[in-house]
C-alpha cells in the first residue's frame, strides 16, 4: 500500500493492452526505491504539512466565499423542471429559485455531455478543449475513435518464449485539452474534490482529489459490455453484450465468465473464471472466485470481486453484479459489465491514485465504468425496466454517499459531483411520459428524488457557501433517426463502390475518391478535405462554397409527413475559434425535437433510407439543436446575467476565490 501511495503510476506499468490491464508491482529495485522513498516521505512530512498550511492560508486571502458546491444533474430539463416546480413537486429547487436564482443555462454546440462538461471544467469552447463529440475519426482510415481518451500499447515488450512482458509504461492519454478550473485553484492551495465529472479519465494530476467518470472503460477495455448466461439454446446476437451458455449440472448450473485478454501471452487468449449456481433449499447460491453469495430471483447481488489470473501470475481485478432474470423452466443470469475494481484498479481512475480505494474502503464498492447504468441491457431486453431502474438507483445511492461524505469533510474549497441518473432515466423512459402504462411516473419520480438531493446539499450551505445546481443540457423525445450519410449519397456528396446504395458500418464500401462529405458521431459531419483526410478530394478553395450548398440543401430535408427533421445546420467555424478547430466536424446538425442522427449513421453506415423509426427503449435524447435543449442553473445567490452559459461556471469559481481569470478562458464570471 505504501508503494502505491508513493508511486501513483506504478500500477500502470504492466497495463499492456486496451482490453486487459493488470496491476503489476514489480521488481526488487522497485522495492528498494520504495523503501527509501517511504523513509524520505516520513521524515519530510512535518515540513510538507507546514508548507501546505501556509499556502492554503495565502490561497484564500482574496476569497469571497469559503466553499463552492457544484451539484451536477446530467440532462435535467428546464421545461420539465419548471412544470414540476409550478406543480409544487420540487420544493427544494423552488426554494433555491425563490431565495437565490434559477436560470436556463446555455449549453454547447453540440449539446452532448462530454462536450458540455468539458466546457464546464475549462471555461472554454470545444475549439479550445478539443472535445466535439463522443467520437472523432481517424484522418487516415476514417474509423471512429473515442474522442476523450486513448489507451495505447507499451513501446517495449520483452519476449520470453510465449510470454510478452512489458518493460515500458502503457500510455493512457486524456485528449481533453486546456485546463480545468480545479487545477488552477489547486495551484493556489484551494482544495477541490471532483467526483464523477465527465471527461476526467485518465485523471490529471493536480492539488486535490478526483474520481474519473464518463469514458472510463470496463476491464475488457470497452465502454461497458454486459454478459448473459442462459440455458436457452436459441441463438441471440447482442450489439453491445454477449450471451454465454449455462450448463445444467447435478444440483444447479455452471458457466464461465469471459474476462479480458491475457496480454502477457502470445495470441492474447481470453481469461476466464468458472462459476456455479447451486440450488439450496429452494433458493440459489452463486459460487464464483472462491466466494459464495445468495442469488435471489429479481435481486442484484452485491459487487463480486473477480480476479483474472494471467500467465505471469498477476491478476486483473474487476467486479460485477449478478441478477437471475428467470429461474424456471429456463435459467438466465445477467452480469453487469466488468467494472474496474476501485480497490485495485487496472487503470488509473482517481487522483491521487489511492483515492478510489479510500472511497471503496470507506463507503463500499461502487460502479467505476464511465456510463455505469447499463442502457444496452435494457435496449436488448436482457433486463427489464424494473431491473434497470434498480440498477440506476443503486448507482445513485453509491454516488450520493460519496457526495455527502465530501460535503461533510469539506470546510472550505470546492466539491463538485455529477449524477447521471437524470440522463439515463430520461433516455430510457421518455416514451413512457404521458402514458398510463408501467413506469409512466419514472421520470417524474426521478426529478423528485433529485430535488431531495438538492435539499440535502442545501443543508451544507451558509453565508460563505456558493451552491450551484446545474445540468449540461435538457431533454426531448427521440422518435425518428436521420442517416445523414444516406442523405449525402442521395444528393451526390457520398458515393459507394460499384454503384451500391448501402454500406456496412464504418464506411465499408464507400468510394472515397468521389466522396465529398461523410457523417460520423452524434453531432455533425465532415467534408472529405484534401490535405486533411488521407483520401480527401475537396479542395480548400472550394470548401466554403460547398459548405453553403450543403447547408442550404440539408435544411430543406422533409420527413414523410412533411415535417422538417432539421431546423438548422451550423458551419462549425462560425460557432467558435480555437487551436483545435481543425479536429471539429465541419457541420453541426441542429435537429428538431423528435429527431436525432440514426443509430447506425453515427458509426458511419450508409443506410438504404434516410429517416427511420427509433424503436429502442432509448427514446429520449438531447442530440438536437442546442438552442432547444438548454440546461438548468440554480444558485443560492442572485444571478443577474441574462443569458448564462455553461462556460461561465469555471471563471465564476475562480473569481469567487479571488483568483485571476486567465485571458484564454471564454466564459464570463457571473459576479
Amino acid at each position: 500500500m505504501v508503494l502505491a501511495y508513493l508511486h501513483p503510476h506504478a500500477t500502470q506499468i504492466a497495463y499492456i493492452g486496451p482490453g486487459a490491464g493488470f496491476a503489476f508491482l514489480g521488481s526488487f529495485l522497485t522495492l528498494i526505491a520504495g523503501f527509501f522513498l517511504t523513509v524520505f516521505s516520513l521524515l519530510s512530512w512535518p515540513f510538507r504539512l507546514a508548507w501546505r498550511a501556509v499556502r492554503r492560508r495565502k490561497g484564500y486571502r482574496h476569497a469571497r466565499v469559503r466553499k463552492i458546491i457544484f451539484l451536477g444533474l446530467d440532462g435535467l430539463d428546464p421545461r420539465t423542471t419548471e412544470r414540476l416546480m409550478t406543480e409544487g413537486k420540487l420544493p427544494n429547487l423552488a426554494r433555491l429559485a425563490a431565495e437565490g436564482s434559477y436560470k436556463r443555462l446555455r449549453t454547447t454546440f453540440p449539446a452532448l455531455s462530454p462536450v458540455a462538461w468539458s466546457t464546464f471544467a475549462t471555461g472554454v469552447s470545444p475549439a479550445k478543449h478539443n472535445i466535439f463529440d463522443f467520437l472523432d475519426r481517424s484522418l487516415k482510415n476514417y474509423l471512429p475513435r473515442l474522442s476523450s481518451a486513448h489507451i495505447g500499447k507499451p513501446a517495449h515488450v520483452l519476449r520470453v518464449g510465449r510470454l510478452r512482458v512489458p518493460i515500458s509504461r502503457t500510455p493512457v492519454e486524456l485528449r481533453r485539452k486546456s485546463q480545468p478550473f480545479w487545477k488552477i485553484l489547486g495551484r493556489q492551495g484551494i482544495g477541490c474534490t471532483i467526483l464523477r465529472v465527465p471527461i476526467t479519465f485518465p485523471p490529471e494530476k493536480f492539488d486535490g482529489r478526483l474520481l474519473s467518470a464518463m469514458c472510463t472503460p470496463d476491464l475488457k477495455g470497452t465502454q461497458g459490455s454486459f454478459s448473459q448466461f442462459t440455458t436457452r439454446v436459441e441463438r441471440a446476437t447482442y450489439e453491445n453484450g454477449s450471451r454465454y451458455p449455462l450448463r445444467r449440472v447435478a444440483d444447479g448450473f455452471a458457466g464461465e465468465i469471459e474476462g479480458p485478454a491475457d496480454t502477457y501471452l502470445e495470441g492474447r487468449p481470453i481469461l476466464r473464471i468458472p462459476f456455479q449456481v447451486r440450488r439450496r433449499n429452494g433458493a440459489y447460491e452463486l459460487q464464483v472466485a472462491g466466494r459464495r453469495c445468495a442469488l435471489r430471483p429479481g435481486e442484484y447481488t452485491g459487487w463480486q470481486r473477480l480476479g483474472f489470473r494471467t500467465a505471469v501470475g498477476a491478476s486483473a481485478s474487476g467486479m460485477a453484479r449478478f441478477l437471475a432474470t428467470e429461474t424456471d423452466p429456463e435459467f438466465s443470469i445477467y452480469m453487469t459489465p466488468l467494472n474496474l475494481d476501485p480497490e485495485r484498479p487496472a487503470l488509473p481512475i482517481s487522483h491521487p491514485p489511492y483515492y478510489a480505494a479510500y472511497l471503496a474502503n470507506l463507503l463500499g464498492s461502487y460502479a467505476t465504468v464511465g456510463m455505469a447504468e447499463d442502457t444496452w441491457a435494457l435496449n436488448e431486453g436482457v433486463i427489464d425496466e424494473d431491473a434497470f431502474l434498480r440498477q440506476a438507483w443503486d448507482i445513485f445511492a453509491e454516488r450520493e454517499g460519496m457526495f455527502l461524505n465530501a460535503l461533510e469533510n469539506t470546510r472550505r474549497g470546492v466539491v463538485a459531483c455529477v449524477f447521471d441518473t437524470s440522463d439515463r432515466i430520461q433516455h430510457m423512459f421518455y416514451r413512457r411520459l404521458g402514458t398510463s402504462g408501467p413506469h409512466a411516473e419514472a421520470i417524474e419520480e426521478m426529478y423528485r428524488r433529485l430535488d431531495k438531493l438538492a435539499g440535502k446539499a442545501l443543508t451544507f450551505t451558509d453565508d460563505g457557501t456558493a451552491l450551484f445546481v446545474l445540468s449540461d443540457h435538457g431533454f426531448c423525445a427521440f422518435r425518428r433517426g436521420v442517416n445523414i450519410n444516406a442523405w449525402l449519397r442521395d444528393n451526390g456528396y457520398l458515393h459507394l463502390k460499384n454503384g451500391g446504395r448501402e454500406s456496412g458500418p464504418f464506411f465499408e464500401g464507400v468510394d472515397w475518391s468521389r466522396t465529398r462529405a461523410y457523417a460520423l458521431g452524434l453531432g455533425g459531419f465532415y467534408l472529405n478535405l484534401k490535405g486533411r483526410e488521407a483520401l480527401g478530394v475537396v479542395d480548400k478553395r472550394e470548401a466554403e462554397a460547398l459548405k453553403s450548398e450543403i447547408i442550404r440543401q440539408l435544411a430543406a430535408l422533409r420527413d414523410e409527413d412533411g415535417a422538417a427533421p432539421i431546423g438548422n445546420v451550423y458551419a462549425t467555424a462560425s460557432l467558435y475559434r480555437g487551436p483545435y478547430l481543425d479536429a471539429a466536424p465541419d457541420f453541426i446538425v441542429g435537429y428538431n425535437e423528435g429527431y436525432r442522427c440514426s443509430w447506425d449513421g453515427a458509426v458511419g453506415k450508409v443506410a438504404v433510407g434516410t429517416i427511420e423509426d427509433n424503436d429502442k427503449a432509448w427514446s429520449g435524447d438531447h442530440c438536437v439543436d442546442p438552442v432547444l435543449v438548454p440546461g438548468v442553473l440554480f444558485s443560492n445567490r442572485k444571478i443577474e446575467a441574462a443569458d448564462p452559459g455553461i462556460e461561465d461556471l469555471a471563471p465564476t469559481a475562480l473569481k469567487l476565490f479571488g483568483v485571476d481569470v486567465p485571458a484564454w478562458m471564454e466564459g464570463k464570471a457571473l459576479w
Partner: protein, 60 residues
C-alpha cells in the same frame, strides 16, 4: 522529461500560445508535436478500435 529551448524561442512560443488561445505554452508545444507525430504514427488494427466503442449508449 525536459527539453531546453532558447530564451528567444520560448518568448515566441509564449506569444504564439497566447495568440492561439492555448492555456499555456506547454499545451501549444504539445499540440504542435502531437500533430507532427500523428503524421508518422501507424494505425491500430480496425477491430481493436471498434471493439473499444462497444457499450457506448448512444451508438449501435
Amino acid at each position: 522529461m525536459t527539453i531546453k529551448l532558447k530564451k528567444e524561442l520560448w518568448a515566441q512560443v509564449t506569444k504564439a500560445a497566447t495568440a492561439g488561445g492555448y492555456s499555456s505554452p506547454e499545451e501549444f508545444i504539445e499540440h504542435v508535436l502531437e500533430r507532427e507525430c500523428a503524421k508518422l504514427a501507424g494505425e491500430e488494427p480496425d477491430e481493436e478500435v471498434v471493439r473499444r466503442l462497444k457499450g457506448l449508449g448512444y451508438i449501435d
